[in-house]
Amino acid sequence: MTYGSSGGKLALTGRSLNILITGVGGQGLITLATLLAETAIYRGVKALIAETHGLSQRGGSVEVHVRLGEVKAPLIPQGGVDVLLGLELIETARRLKTLSEDGVVLTTDIMLRPGLPGVKLPDKTSLIESMKNVVGDRLIVVPASKLAREAGGLLYANTVMLGALAASGLLDGLVDVEDLKAAVARMKRAEENMKAFQLGFDYCAATCRRGNP
């Protein structure tokens, strides 16, 4: 099967990667997932995204499953997540259970208040500490609130994290970083998004580059 309308093909590596993107409805999770998947199939790598729409999306806790490579089923099993890509801290913490034994957590430092009366938000530093207790040095917290604001506003946090993921090496053999950059350059508000991508990329290239999970 030939994937992609044009362009060359990468040989299938036999590898698969399960990315669970989590955050709050409206943070641009689906945009992020679509960029990854389109970039993958452009080079002949299979990609599946499972999303939630409708009522559950309105400011609620959401997750998007992205599966790349040799996969069939749309949902990642609990305990099968290779990369937990978090756009919001509480939502990331809620899903640590889904990680595989050597799964990596890549999360923003953004914390959003649930729209319920009398909600007590956890303290950010101690929440990160609790997360470290569970996953150890497989936790990478990207200062995305700062980087996204530098790029133009909090809504660019998703692109910051895409840049960070691209720099992490986790996508190697499945998604080409240059293709991803080109896809970001075609986004709406391309200038801000490219800046956000680069800021995330540079941060992670300096601090969190690792091999395949």
């Binding site: 729409h53 400011g59 806790s61 089923a73 749309p74 889904t98 649930p114 009366p117 956890p122 997360m131």
Partner: protein, 639 residues
């Protein structure tokens, strides 16, 4: 915005949403007519077609409900135009009256009815298994596993329907409709047949009893021909692998069962089914040859399992058939569930499951929940806030008869103004029953504009005719917001975005004979409270129905319109010295844009504020003020 690939004229592989893939399949099949009422997870099928429609001259519409959508699509089909009607699973309940007769009449040009199910209830009030409808109405069920197959199977469904002069019910689930995956595009036709001719044949199409009896005989015999044809529906129905163990799986369950078996390293014969109803007996019998036992992996009800059990009994075969005893009846399929079912079926322990959840030491349990919430600037929040004040001011004991829409979120604290919710339009009908038997409680039926046009109209006629003392509160944001802001009869535009007649709820209410009709702006809390209090007192004192219309645009729609038109959005901020940390804005009004500082004082997040102004009125200390003025035309985008 649907994928640009929908309109790509030639061959390519594109990443498409399952629903977009169905739309593309319908286009490749040369569809001429499509209709739907939006409902998650089905909405993007007709949304995509509407976007593509004008280029090809196809008629595409948002119908006022699913029954109308199906009736209209059937009429197009029997007039020789290929047609599709789409709806969510519960939408088929609304369309069921038409659906149950369509088997009797048959069709002419291909008719595909898409019903998108929701195992796990991500966005629905139940997880009914619509494959039963196929058995009930003698309509074959096609069930794709992923977007790529959904596209191919849609094309096949049109051909099959036309060949057999019979409708096809295509059933998807959330994990097909809302999955994006690679889809192989084929050429789009040069011409789309959008106009037909109705050849009259009353003996077939006019189902008076004498004709219906003859059609029933015809239907029953046709059913067996359809069953036989489905045995040859390659490659959608196929046998893979070999062994004395058979796993049968349909729809998306095939992908779970197949991947689970592969990852567990289990060699079994597998029967992949894309047509669970009627069971393709010849193919199943072939799959059963030399098999000792069978596991059926399917979501929800044992539709395939029970048909195979019946077949095994009919044929006197000595084969064990299992299914729901291992997979369970509730919720959606997962890899873990498929793996566990297969292992237990083989007598092996669940310890072999390759995925183990991490022990997070109870961390997840300590985190605050985050249910979905009404958006910043949502007029429903303001209406609920004003309604609570009006009820208190009128000193009545309310019963809030609820309905389906974004406003269903009013069930959550702090509002708790949805005391029941069963189905579309149910608020007014049930509200009538409540009102007739409750003499110490005042019934307030809360319904959105789209839901009002969908199924509220007959209930309002009943309320007037049978004089029920209820307040019907219509939350009129002039759009079908929950499914992504589709237009409806109250919007003033059609599915293509062209101007269309705008039906007004207050005009309809008056025409139906409602004597007390009020229209208010929910963003003006004091006026809204006054209007609602008057309406409640009218219902209490006159024991007759009243209608109140809360009119303000959906905040998502309003801010989008402003952005497109380049209209500057105002911004509100809290004056720190004036804020007393009373919490009214974040605990009683609960706008998500209002955050709480360490000292309990409020802070408005400028990234989230939509400039709706309501918090400024809600604040008892006048501590919230406008700090950025709106641009010209700002007020207009909100109506």
């Amino acid at each position: 915005m649907p994928s640009k690939w929908l309109l790509f004229p030639g061959r390519a592989t594109a990443l498409l949403l399952g629903n977009e893939a169905i739309a593309r399949g319908a286009l490749e099949a040369g569809i001429g007519f499509a209709s739907a009422y939006p409902g998650t997870p089905s909405t993007e099928i007709v949304e995509s077609l509407a976007w593509a429609a004008q280029k090809f001259g196809i008629h595409v519409e948002w119908s006022s409900n699913e029954k109308v959508a199906l009736e209209a699509a059937w009429a197009a089909s029997v007039s020789g135009v290929r047609a599709l009607a789409a709806m969510k699973h519960v939408g088929l309940n609304v369309a069921a009256d038409a659906f149950m007769s369509i088997g009797y009449t048959g069709v002419r040009a291909g008719l595909v009815i898409v019903s998108a199910g929701d195992p796990g209830m991500w966005s629905s009030q139940n997880e009914q298994d619509n494959r039963y409808y196929g058995l009930l109405g003698y309509i074959p069920v096609f069930e794709p596993s992923d977007p790529g197959e959904a596209k191919e199977l849609t094309v096949k469904a049109f051909e099959f329907s036309e060949e057999h002069e019979h409708a096809v019910l295509m059933i998807t689930t959330t994990r097909v409709s809302h999955v994006r995956g690679p889809v192989e595009l084929k050429d789009l036709p040069k011409n789309f047949k959008t106009k037909g001719w109705f050849d009259k044949d009353p003996s077939r199409f006019t189902l008076v009893p004498q004709n219906a009896r003859a059609r029933r005989e015809h239907l029953v015999s046709k059913w067996e021909a359809i069953r036989d044809a489905l045995s040859n529906l390659q490659p959608f129905n196929r046998i893979e692998g070999d062994g004395r163990i058979l796993i049968v799986a349909d729809g998306v369950s095939y992908l779970y069962a197949s991947e689970a078996a592969e990852r567990l390293g289990i060699d079994a014969r597998m029967l992949k089914l894309a047509t669970p109803v009627p069971l393709p007996k010849k193919l199943v019998l072939k799959a059963l040859e030399d098999v000792d036992k069978v596991l059926v992996v399917e979501e929800l009800e044992p539709i395939v399992e029970n048909q195979i059990k019946a077949l095994v009994a009919e044929e006197g075969l000595d084969i064990e058939v299992h299914g729901k005893d291992y997979t369970g009846l509730t919720g959606e399929m997962t890899l873990e569930r498929a793996a566990r079912s297969i292992l237990e079926f083989l007598g092996r322990g669940a310890v072999d499951i390759p995925w183990k959840p991490v022990d997070d030491g109870g961390l997840a349990g300590k985190l605050p929940p985050r249910p979905p919430a009404m958006c910043p600037g949502c007029p429903h929040r303001a209406t609920y806030y004003a309604l609570r004040r009006a009820v208190n001011a009128a000193r009545v004991k309310p019963v809030y008869s609820g309905d389906i829409g974004c406003y269903s979120l009013g069930v959550l604290p702090p509002f708790r103004e949805q005391d029941m919710l069963i189905e579309m339009g149910g608020s007014v009908g049930a509200g009538h029953g409540f009102a007739k038997v409750l003499d110490k409680q005042i019934v307030i039926s809360i319904i959105g504009d789209s839901t009002f046009f969908h199924a509220g109209l007959p209930a309002l006629a009943n309320a007037v005719y049978n004089r029920s003392p209820q307040l019907v509160l219509v939350l009129d944001n002039r759009v079908t917001a929950m499914t992504g802001e589709q237009p409806n009869p109250g919007t003033g535009i059609n599915a293509y975005g062209e101007p269309a007649p705008m039906l007004k709820v207050e005009d309809i209410a008056r025409a139906m004979g409602v004597e007390k009709v009020v229209v208010f702006d929910p963003f003006k809390i004091k006026e809204a409270t006054k209007a609602l209090k008057e309406a409640i007192e009218y219902v209490r004192d006159k024991r007759a129905p009243a209608v109140a219309v809360a009119r303000r645009a959906c905040a998502l729609e309003a801010t989008r319109r402003a952005r497109r038109a380049g209209i500057k959005q105002p911004l509100y901020q809290v004056i720190d010295d004036k804020c007393t940390a009373c919490g009214v804005c974040y605990n009683a009004f609960t706008c998500p844009a209002i955050e709480v500082k360490e000292n309990g004082k409020a802070w408005i997040n400028p990234d989230l504020c939509t400039g709706c102004s309501v918090c400024a009125e809600v604040c008892p200390f006048n501590a919230i003020v406008k700090v950025v003025e709106e641009g010209e035309g700002w007020d207009d985008v909100w109506f």
